[in-house]
Each structure stands twice: as C-alpha cells, then as structure tokens.
Subunit: 78 residues, 2 copies
C-alpha cells in the first residue's frame, strides 16, 4: 500500500531553503516568481495492516517536526 | 497562482535518506514498513503570466536534477 506524506513549513516560519531557491530562479532570469516554499515528500510502501493511526504516529514521532511543520497524509491507490 | 512541483528520485537510484528514515521508523518500533523514498515538494507562488513552459524550464534548470530525479508539476487552484 503506497502512502504519501507531505511535510511543509507552517505559515510564518522562515524558509531559508525556499528563499535560496527563489533567488536562484531570479538569478537564472525567471520572472513572475512571488514566493517559494520548500517541503518534503515521503513515499511509504506499507503493509495493508498498517493503520491510519500508525501513520499519524510515524509523522508525529519522526517524519515531521510538528512545532514548525504541518503534515498531510495521502493514501495512494494500491 | 499556486503551483506545486514534486521531485522524486528515479527508480533504481539509491536513496540513503529514505533508508535512514526506514531504519529510524523500525527503531521506533513501527512494523509493516516495506520501503521509504524521500523527495522534495516545492510550492511556487507565481504570477498568472508564468507559462507551463517557464515552469518546466525552472524544473529542468534548477528544481530537479533530471539525471537522477523525476519531477511532476501540479497547478493548484488559485
């Protein structure tokens, strides 16, 4: 069972990586870029037995730093 | 205009970050995890004038290393 976890910084949290990407895009001559936010995409291949609660616990304990990050779980089609 | 770019490693490319997450999950006592692949999620806030070709060029020139990575562009609702 494929599951995707999207981890993004909470609003208001400074995103130096996003800023660096933003400046680099402008340096390459791309215009029209207002903001860039960088996050993580974690793809998990799980046994069917793994429950939503387990995945949530994985996110809270390891995959996301819930002080500064949000996470969203998306169960992909099998 | 919000646009999301998903950058993932191509199949067959070694993913040490994914391996480290996998071992850490097992160390925390989570079972049923077959594989973990780590990737990037980049959220772009763009002007309406930015074309699909521009976004593709951003990906090819900066956001993804197309030798070892795939990218997928998703235009989010405005």
């Amino acid at each position: 069972m494929k599951t995707r976890v999207y981890v993004t910084l909470k609003n208001g949290v400074l995103d130096p990586q996003g800023k660096a990407i933003h400046h680099a895009l402008e340096g390459l001559g791309f215009s029209g870029v207002n903001d860039v936010r960088a996050g993580k995409l974690i793809e998990l291949d799980l046994e069917e037995s793994v429950s939503d609660a387990d995945i949530e616990a994985m996110c809270r304990k390891l995959l996301a730093n819930t002080v500064i990050e949000n996470f969203r779980i998306e169960r992909a089609a099998a």
